[in-house]
Structure formats: structure tokens, C-alpha cells
């Protein structure tokens, strides 16, 4: 963690700060004031992306639209829980969408994905300093994801976008399961390091 290393990404945050900070602020407005206009802004940004993600994961347009609506409904209902999540807004919304997709697939009332923020004891709200760190972290993760070697990038995308299991990836690519795991580990290692460097 050298100061020199930090200076570059921090400058980059200033350039792009507005958009991601806005998402934090929008969620706060929804949580505190039940602000429907703020909600609409968040909706306009995320809803078409959520629907696209749902469609990649093999649902038809109608199902994808329904799952997107359920996801955004949960964003509205649980906006006040976001501060406990301690991640980025997009990651939080990703987890909600992920859980909706899984629940939809299972078609059963049992809930085996317990949201991490429900398990957190800490009640500390995200202060502005944490917000900057979290925005910075987002940027790093995004940069790292883009700059991964193709064979690692492929595995990560198949996991997070196409939602294929390790076994399915191994079969699709015709490579041993062990190779899938080691590429996944390598990609995660880079990511984790970049996230830790920000802290």
C-alpha cells in the first residue's frame, strides 16, 4: 500500500464521482423520504440492465420483466438496509436480482440465501468517507475485471453473467474442473488485492 499507488485511482474517482455517489444518495432519499422521484432515477438506470441480466440467464422477456420488477420492489422496500451491506449500490442490487432469480427458479417459499446485510450486527451508516472508498473500490473492481487475462475473464463472466456452475463451465469449455477453479482463484486474488489496496 504505497501512497504513490493510491494517487492515480483517487484522481480517477473525482472524475467519475458523481454518478456512483448519486446512487448512494438516491437510495438514501428512498430510505428516508420514500422519495418516488429518486426511485424513478434508480429505476431508469438499473431496470434495463437487470432485465438484460435476467434474459441472459435463460428466462423469456416476460419472466425477465417480472423478475426485474420484483428486484426493484425489493430495492424500494429494503433501501434502509443498504447501509449495513457495506458494498456498492450495484453489488447490492446484483445480490437482490440474484436472489430473485434463484427464488423464481426454485418456486418454493424456503429461503436459502440470507442476505448478508441481515446478518450484520453493525448498524453504522455509510458515511461519506466510506462512500468514497466504496466508489473507489467499484472502479478498481471494474478496471480489474476488464483487464483480466481472457481465460480468467471468461470464467468470471460465465459465473456472474451466464450463471453457470463450475461443473457447467468445465463441460462447456471442455477443461478440467480443477482448471476452472484455479482460474477463478487467480482472478479473485487480483480482485481482492486491488480492493485491499484501496482500504
Amino acid at each position: 500500500m504505497y501512497v504513490q499507488d493510491k494517487s492515480i485511482p483517487i484522481r480517477r474517482v473525482d472524475v467519475t464521482k458523481n454518478e456512483t455517489t448519486d446512487h448512494h444518495e438516491l437510495l438514501e432519499l428512498i430510505a428516508l423520504n420514500r422519495d418516488k422521484e429518486a426511485f424513478e432515477q434508480l429505476f431508469v438506470h438499473f431496470a434495463p440492465k437487470i432485465k438484460a441480466l435476467m434474459m441472459k440467464q435463460s428466462s423469456d422477456a416476460d419472466t425477465a420483466e417480472d423478475l426485474m420488477q420484483e428486484t426493484m420492489l425489493t430495492v424500494w422496500n429494503k433501501a434502509d438496509k443498504f447501509s449495513k451491506y457495506r458494498g456498492s449500490v450495484s453489488a447490492w442490487i446484483f445480490t437482490i436480482a440474484r436472489n430473485k432469480r434463484i427464488d423464481g427458479y426454485r418456486k418454493q417459499g424456503t429461503k436459502h440465501y440470507h442476505d448478508i446485510e441481515d446478518l450484520e450486527l453493525s448498524d453504522d451508516a455509510t458515511d461519506s468517507e466510506e462512500q468514497v472508498i466504496s466508489n473507489e473500490r467499484d472502479r478498481m473492481v471494474s478496471d480489474i475485471s476488464k483487464s483480466l487475462p481472457p481465460e480468467q475473464k471468461e470464467i468470471i463472466e460465465m459465473s456472474f453473467v451466464n450463471e453457470l456452475s463450475q461443473t457447467e463451465i468445465s463441460k462447456t469449455l471442455g477443461i478440467p474442473l480443477g482448471t476452472v477453479k484455479s482460474r477463478m482463484r487467480l482472478a479473485y486474488k487480483k480482485l481482492r488485492k486491488s480492493v485491499e489496496d484501496v482500504l
Binding site: 426454485r106 418456486k107 480492493v195
Partner: protein
């Protein structure tokens, strides 16, 4: 709870991506409740999901999409918040902090509507019994509680696929170390082991499998059709 054995990093990443099959996801959820280290790993991996969502292409929404959502907001006064309260009540009733399991891990409670003492065990072999847990129709994995008597040594066996085991009570030992309450054994295909219960009480664990377990020894071969794991 002093946790020494965690799920493999790739298991946690797959959990974050949402690609673990149901039985495995239940076990990871149970462990996350009590393990801050693994929660941190999952949270970090979820950042990847966030950036992929952010970079995703956009699909046109159906007409009047936001309007319909607004109607739902006014019609459904937050049923989800009520659900959370009921989870909170469970925790309050047992007066345990959230990061301890109160009787049973939260993720298991929704599947098993009973206490550990009231479980009806099915005997598989001397000193070994189990209680299969019903998952949803689409599940490609199976989940069961296993109860192994104190002092019992299981026959050496390998695994036909990924197997995840969470210790709920007691402890056992194998070549990988000692596994006690809260620990997870994350075993891959071809790993062979011969666990022995070393606690003063019976060892109870929750086990997720994707394929039948093949026992190596003669006893194992006899056991397998009986155990069915």
C-alpha cells in the same frame, strides 16, 4: 465459536455468483451467519457481480413498467419487512446474538421446522443415522443431517462429486484435521478420508452432495446401498 475450517474460496465465489446448487447454498448460508471472514469474501466477490450489472447491455422495458411498479408499492405495504421481523423474532426468542446459531442456523430453520432433539433419525448402520431434507423440485443436489455416534469410525470413502459438510454438534477428526461446530469440510471428487468422531457427544452434521458417495472398503460397499449417500 472458534472456526478453523472454511469453504473453499471458489465455493464462496460461486455462492456470490448464485451458481451453487440448493443444498450447497444452504450450507454456505449457515456458515456465513457465524463467519465474518467468509462474509467478507462473499461481499468482495459480489462486487464483481455489481460491475457486471453496471456494464450490462440494456433491454427495453415493457410499456408502463415503472407505473406498474409504483402501483405495487402502494398496494403492497412491504411484506418483506414483515418477513425480516419474523426472522428477528426467532433470534430474540432464544436470546442469542445474531452471530451465534440459536439452536439451528437461520438458513436451516426454514427447511427443518423442528429442534435438533425432535428430529426423527433413520438408522443406516450401527452408530450412523440420517435425516434427509426435502429441497425444491429443481434441485440437483441432496441435503441431509447425519448423526454419527461418539467414538465411531466411518469406513474410508471417496466422493463422486463435490461434497460440503457443516458440523452442527460434536467433532470429528480425519487426515485434514479436527472439525468442530461451525467448521466446514469442503471436499472435492477423489478426496478420500476416514472420519472418526472424537467428541463426548454424537457428531451431528449437515451434508450436501451432488452424487452418490462410493465407499472403498468392504464395509463401505455394504454400507453404501444402505446409506444411499
Amino acid at each position: 465459536m472458534n472456526i478453523n475450517h472454511h469453504p473453499d474460496e471458489t465455493t464462496l465465489i460461486s455462492y456470490a455468483a448464485g451458481t451453487l446448487d440448493e443444498a450447497f447454498a444452504v450450507i454456505v448460508s449457515c456458515h456465513l451467519q457465524i463467519c465474518e471472514t467468509c462474509r467478507e469474501t462473499v461481499r468482495t466477490a459480489e462486487l464483481i457481480g455489481g460491475t457486471h450489472l453496471e456494464q450490462s447491455e440494456e433491454v427495453p422495458l415493457s410499456q408502463g413498467s415503472f407505473g406498474r411498479l409504483l402501483e405495487k408499492i402502494s398496494v403492497e405495504p412491504s411484506t418483506e419487512i414483515n418477513n425480516q421481523q419474523s426472522v428477528g423474532e426467532l433470534t430474540l426468542k432464544t436470546k442469542k446474538p445474531k452471530h451465534e446459531w440459536s439452536e439451528l442456523p437461520l438458513a436451516l430453520q426454514s427447511y427443518l421446522k423442528t429442534n435438533i432433539e425432535d428430529i426423527k433419525w433413520k438408522r443406516l448402520a450401527p452408530g450412523v443415522s440420517h435425516h434427509p431434507i426435502t429441497l425444491s423440485e429443481n434441485a440437483n443436489s441432496s441435503l441431509r443431517l447425519l448423526r454419527i455416534a461418539k467414538g465411531k469410525q466411518m469406513p474410508e470413502h471417496g466422493h463422486n462429486g463435490h461434497e460440503l459438510t457443516l458440523i452442527l454438534q460434536g467433532a470429528y477428526q480425519d487426515k485434514f484435521g479436527t472439525f468442530a461446530k461451525g467448521d466446514i469440510a469442503d471436499l472435492d471428487t477423489d478426496v478420500e478420508h476416514q472420519p472418526k468422531v472424537i467428541s463426548e457427544e454424537d457428531c451431528i452434521c449437515l451434508s450436501a452432495t451432488e452424487a452418490p458417495t462410493k465407499f472403498k472398503s468392504l464395509l463401505g460397499r455394504i454400507l453404501q446401498p444402505i446409506v444411499g449417500i
